[in-house]
């Protein structure tokens, strides 16, 4: 269970451009489910994903993952959790420019000290699973939108995380590629992964794979009872 208790996030606190992205949000997210945060742009979805994924710290409140409080952990431990527990799929994929698809997939596991041959094989296997093995040596900037996203998915899986976080994963995809994405998510769900997705795309929000829809507006939970 991911437990969020009275979490607030204020950017530029004390400055004229102070902005409250999240305001005393509390909720629980079941593991091995697909949870979708729904809401318009600027509602606080990405901020909430960042906080859950240990990419930022809340201004106040606490977050627990499997009853372990992560908000007060030092940076080193947060990195360790980020690496071992979470896999990230960013809105614009955020692949490393100039590196090949394979190198992008290998990147998260490089600091683990895994043997190169084994890491390369695992990366190729994941790319193969996503039908991208033929693009392994292509530079990330040469990939199409759908290919780039599948590389981003492969990268999120390389450290075998239990939770996948995806921020607006279909924002830059057409309907066909969005459907492909959902099909991959379904496979991951069946494998027992927890998926936390932020999206305002009806394709995702109305998808049968979503176990729970949580609507966020103006940094607050508007409705977390909706079920597909």
């Amino acid at each position: 269970m991911i437990k969020i208790q009275n979490v607030s996030k204020v950017f530029n606190a004390g400055r004229p451009n102070e902005f409250t992205a999240l305001s005393t949000v509390s909720l629980g997210i079941s593991l091995q489910d697909v949870t979708v945060f729904k809401g318009p742009s600027g509602s606080g979805k990405t901020t909430l994903l960042s906080l859950i994924g240990c990419m930022a710290r809340p201004t106040s409140g606490r977050i627990f993952i499997d009853n372990r409080e992560i908000t007060s952990l030092p940076e080193r431990f947060l990195t360790e959790i980020r690496r071992t527990t979470f896999g990230f799929i960013f809105q614009r994929f955020n692949l490393l420019a100039g590196f090949t698809a394979l190198e992008n997939v290998m990147a998260p596991a490089m600091p683990t000290g895994e043997k190169y041959s084994s890491l390369r094989k695992r990366s190729l296997d994941i790319l193969g699973m996503l039908d991208l093995d033929h693009k392994a040596d292509s530079k990330s900037e040469w990939l199409s939108g759908g290919e780039a996203q599948r590389v981003a998915i492969a990268r999120s899986l390389i450290n075998n995380p239990s939770i996948i976080i995806a921020d607006e994963p279909t924002a830059h995809l057409d309907a066909k590629l969005s459907a492909e994405f959902l099909a991959i998510m379904e496979i991951l769900k069946k494998e027992g992964k927890t998926l936390v997705i932020a999206s305002h795309d009806p394709l995702i929000c109305d998808s049968p794979i979503a176990s729970r829809i949580i609507e966020i507006r103006n940094g607050e939970i508007a409705d977390n009872s909706a079920q597909p």
Binding site: M55, A97, G98
Partner: protein, 378 residues
């Protein structure tokens, strides 16, 4: 292989990929960086080698040389002065030397002509330095004509080509017999160019030099250590001039590299954010930046030193030679004996590699300690 080593290898692999992505930018940086190291290394190699050559020349030179002067100008010294010098306690031996210069108009070169102290050369024969042999394409048994002081030509047979570990010692040297030297130069018998003294106790040099000027007021004693000091000062001064000439280049480079190293581009900031987000620790990012800084600066250092070495020892330092050597004193040309001083190299290494590597890490550390979310948003 231990995981820590495997991790470093992964980071190095990633760094190399990262450097190769920006070939143009990093190539330009490497070129300018290597150029600066090349200049510094060339000056260091050149001055160090000249100093060593000078030390080598003087290694076997007499401890005290006595010259006769008249209104400050050198004159031939009467060999009979040796009798007065023998009265000074501590003087072991006194020998007259005959030497001078000869300008070879045909080849535009200046030679040093000398009579060996033990006068071992047979009359009519000469021993010539390797540079003269090369310049005149002379072989053993060849006959070389010289014009004497009276305008008459005199011919000599090359009996030996002098080889020495230091080219400077022998490059322009011609050895001949005393009879031949006097006939060619016109130095009358009973006179020498100077007198050389050996002294029993090195700590007495100064005292004996003082006594010489008292016994023979028209003479000037020259102590070896004074010559060494003079050479040292001259070459240090010349090296300083060259460095001053290039100070602008060096300064521009430091500003350029400081700007490059300390300011991260938006792309680099975002990349650090991504790496942190996907699970890299701050230490991983810093290690990557460390390898990046080290790779560029070490490569520049090695290239600069290598080209500096080739420039000085194989190219005769053609870029700085006019300033560092002077124009007339070291002709005919000679190759410097390769010589590398570990202290100089270490100083150059710490002045070039270390600051750049640190300057590369510092800005990355600032970014890497910020939440990845903030970095990626900015």
């Amino acid at each position: 292989m231990p995981k820590s080593i495997e991790r470093q290898l992964h980071l190095i692999d990633f760094t190399v990929g990262s450097i190769l992505r920006r070939k143009g930018k990093n190539g330009a940086l490497l070129f300018v960086y290597a150029l600066v190291v090349f200049i510094l290394a060339s000056v260091l190699f050149f001055t160090r080698s000249l100093r060593n050559e000078a030390a080598s020349v003087l290694a076997n030179s007499p401890e005290i040389i006595v010259q006769r002067t008249l209104t400050g100008r050198c004159q031939f010294i009467p060999i009979g002065y040796a009798d007065s010098l023998r009265t000074i306690r501590g003087v072991l031996s006194i020998k007259p030397r005959l030497w001078g210069y000869y300008y070879d108009g045909g080849f535009g070169a200046n030679y040093t002509i000398m009579v060996p102290l033990d006068d071992t050369m047979k009359q009519g024969t000469i021993a010539i330095g390797s540079a003269i042999a090369k310049l005149r394409k002379s072989l053993l048994g060849d006959i070389i004509p010289f014009t004497g002081y009276d305008g008459n030509a005199q011919t000599f047979t090359v009996a030996k080509i002098i080889d020495h570990e230091s080219a400077l010692v022998s490059a322009d040297l011609i050895l001949m017999s005393e009879m031949d030297y006097r006939a060619m130069s016109g130095v009358p018998s009973g006179f020498a160019t100077d007198l050389v003294l050996t002294v029993r106790n090195p700590r007495e040099y100064a005292t004996i030099a003082e006594k010489i000027t008292r016994v023979l007021p028209d003479t000037r004693p020259i102590v070896k250590s004074e010559i060494l000091r003079t050479y040292d000062a001259v070459f240090s001064w010349r090296a300083g001039i060259v460095l001053l000439l290039f100070a602008g280049t060096v300064l521009s480079f430091f500003i350029f590299s400081f700007d490059k190293a300390t300011g991260l581009s938006a792309e680099e900031r975002k990349e650090i954010g991504i790496l942190k987000a996907i699970g890299w620790e701050t230490s991983d990012v810093l290690a990557m930046k460390f390898w990046e800084g080290l790779a560029i600066s070490l490569m520049a250092f090695c290239l600069g030193v290598l080209f500096g070495y080739v420039h000085v020892f194989f190219g005769a330092g053609f870029l700085f030679a006019p300033v560092l050597k002077g124009w007339s004193t070291l002709y005919p040309s000679f190759s410097l004996t390769p010589n590398i001083n570990a202290g100089d190299m270490l100083a150059l290494f710490f002045l070039s590699v270390v600051p750049y590597t640190i300057a590369t890490i510092a800005p990355a550390w600032r970014i890497a300690t910020i939440d990845p979310d903030s970095v990626m948003r900015s």
